[in-house]
Symmetry: none
Subunit: 214 residues, 4 copies
């Protein structure tokens, strides 16, 4: 018997009688002509920070990679399986997106794990520990800032990791070349789950500021 | 100056005056108490198949990993950075989700790439090629099924890859142990972008069938 | 000849024909009966962060100490001249204020000086350098957080120094005794000059959060 | 929970919907470009004598040091923490103010304490006693002027202390050098809380006189 959790079946029925009904033409046309999103979002898996919700995006608008901590590792053309690099390559080279936005968020569990490297691994594989070790140097300096509160350290590392991922994006030749030609632009954003505020990275300074909402 | 693409800023304004305004209590409570989603979705980056849309899910409901082709690699406790395994570990061990759903979809670009291994790599790194080679054995047999149409081969591999990822999920000790205890269940689903139909995997046979919509 | 800068004389004329005229009764009564402010504010000398403006306070409301960086040194009953401790003693013991608020602000020049201890002293006395060395240990850890932007380091130290001053307030026996009896409460606040936002310290965590403005 | 006394929260709301709303452009520009006040005021902490009120000053106009009794100690380049000297150094050397105004006021509690040195100290530290002992020689001669009334002695010492602080200002090399070059001028003023009158010091005679208000 085909089976899905009830909450998904209920939600799917709402989708069919709601959004799909209203936008079936768009779905059909997207199926026929293929996707051509302008923007790729690198976001976190966190259930509270879905990019489509935060940007009120409809079908076809956002190509979305989600991993724990919204990290982009540096360019490493080796024999390994690189899911993040594969998604990046597909978005930039095949779909030719114009924008890549790395979006972090407050209270991120992955970042919290990075700040507490002495915590026991969740499993013998310690996948989270290894994955978050991508930002270990930054996590160490932040962890040692004992005059900051736990929340301040967390927010600091969340924002540092966004800048780190953007810097890593530029280690990919296809990204740096297209950015240099003005055909691709990179952005950072940080979402505050509690207040709903979106803080946007200032490209000149790296600071996160709230956009004017007029 | 902080800067985001216009379509994102417009969408964000809609979010703040719409969904956030209506659900600010829920966002605040999710921020305060942390997330506790029941379900993890492994989905594709494709802009036309956002799980939150298809399952009409609100904040806090779905922990969502998205990579190209919604793949789960087999358990490999080595020194590499495994973004997919890290997300899986976090969802199962830390968040203690009750369900994992691997959701594929029609017209998947990653699957199409896997079916055409002679295509020129998108970049010298060939990240997509390596990533999709996770399902290479299946892709080869499907490619050689010359009696199937191109669309049938594509759909076939999309569904095979879902079963393959579910099988890989079971190579993770934490998954197989919890599934054995009845505390975690694994599901497969396939979304038809054009018609909006959701096909759900029959656990006994592996077939994809349409759920009853009463 | 008595002489004041023109802008002060002009401003004073506005005061006499405006605020004083409207509140002369209050001024007369405050002169006759003495001051009895409920709240002492420890603020910075900065021309952009006057407490009476930010709290829209009239005559008699706020007992205001202002020094560079809104610092309170630790209790030190020695033979030196302690202007900050004298003001504190006067407010708590003589005026019996009920609240003390340490209010910092963004873009503080004193904090900036503390973050750059290698800068040449402004004068042979190096009074700013010595004064800001009160928070030297915190400044050093923040200065070494090289993954943070200059603005992030500045904001971090501005908030750390507020918590530091509040901790020092509690080293004064009169403060800690009265706080223990529930007759005095200590608060922290941080003013963003650009946006006008006031961030208020959470007493439990030390974090700065925006108060609800309903 | 972030918490401030109610009267401050109410006042802050008035600020945001009043002064900040009307002058947000000025606040933003002051944040962006930094402060450049022309005038430093040395004033008392007294809640009835806020310089911004008396001089009807907007954001960015006055760099304000406030301590008990508006005192400036003499230049003492030693190892101590000198909050007043630090503020002076910052105003003169870094902000390059053109004017310094020492503003005293009637019914000053600090001056009253200086006139009654036999009073019991407010605390074991006796910070007020030590701080006001900066003007002890003058206080002693005034106390012994038994032909003056108590009010006359108080007003006399309030004005003497302003002249004393101005004399101490000139012991700072940076002040005396810049004053000699005509790039910095020193002023004295005395505010009568009851009548709102401002008395301005005559630089030639040291007398306090009422400025012409035409």
């Amino acid at each position: 018997m085909p089976h899905l959790p009830d909450h998904l079946l209920t939600g799917y029925r709402n989708f069919m009688s709601g959004r799909y009904l209203a936008e079936s033409g768009r779905y059909r046309s997207l199926a026929r002509e293929g996707q051509s999103p302008e923007t790729m979002i690198v976001a976190c898996c966190d259930s509270r920070a879905a990019p489509e919700a935060i940007f009120d995006a409809g079908p076809g608008e956002l190509f979305v990679l989600r991993n724990v901590g919204n990290l982009v590792p540096p360019y490493a053309p080796d024999d390994q399986f690189h899911s993040t690099s594969a998604a990046l390559e597909f978005a930039v080279q095949s779909l030719k997106v114009k924008n890549i936005v790395v979006m972090g968020h407050g209270r991120c569990g992955g970042i919290r794990a990075a700040l507490d490297p002495t915590a026991a691994p969740l499993s013998p594989g310690d996948f989270i520990g290894k994955w978050m070790s991508l930002i270990a140097p930054a996590a160490e300096t932040v962890s040692s800032s004992t005059f900051m509160t736990a929340t301040e350290r967390q927010t600091a590392l969340e924002r540092i990791s966004i800048r780190y991922s953007i810097a890593n994006l530029r280690t990919f030749p296809c990204v740096s070349i297209l950015e240099g030609k003005g055909r691709l632009s990179l952005h950072g954003a940080w979402f505050d789950i509690s207040t709903g505020e979106l803080w946007v990275m200032n490209k000149d300074t790296g600071d996160f500021e709230r956009p004017e909402m007029t």
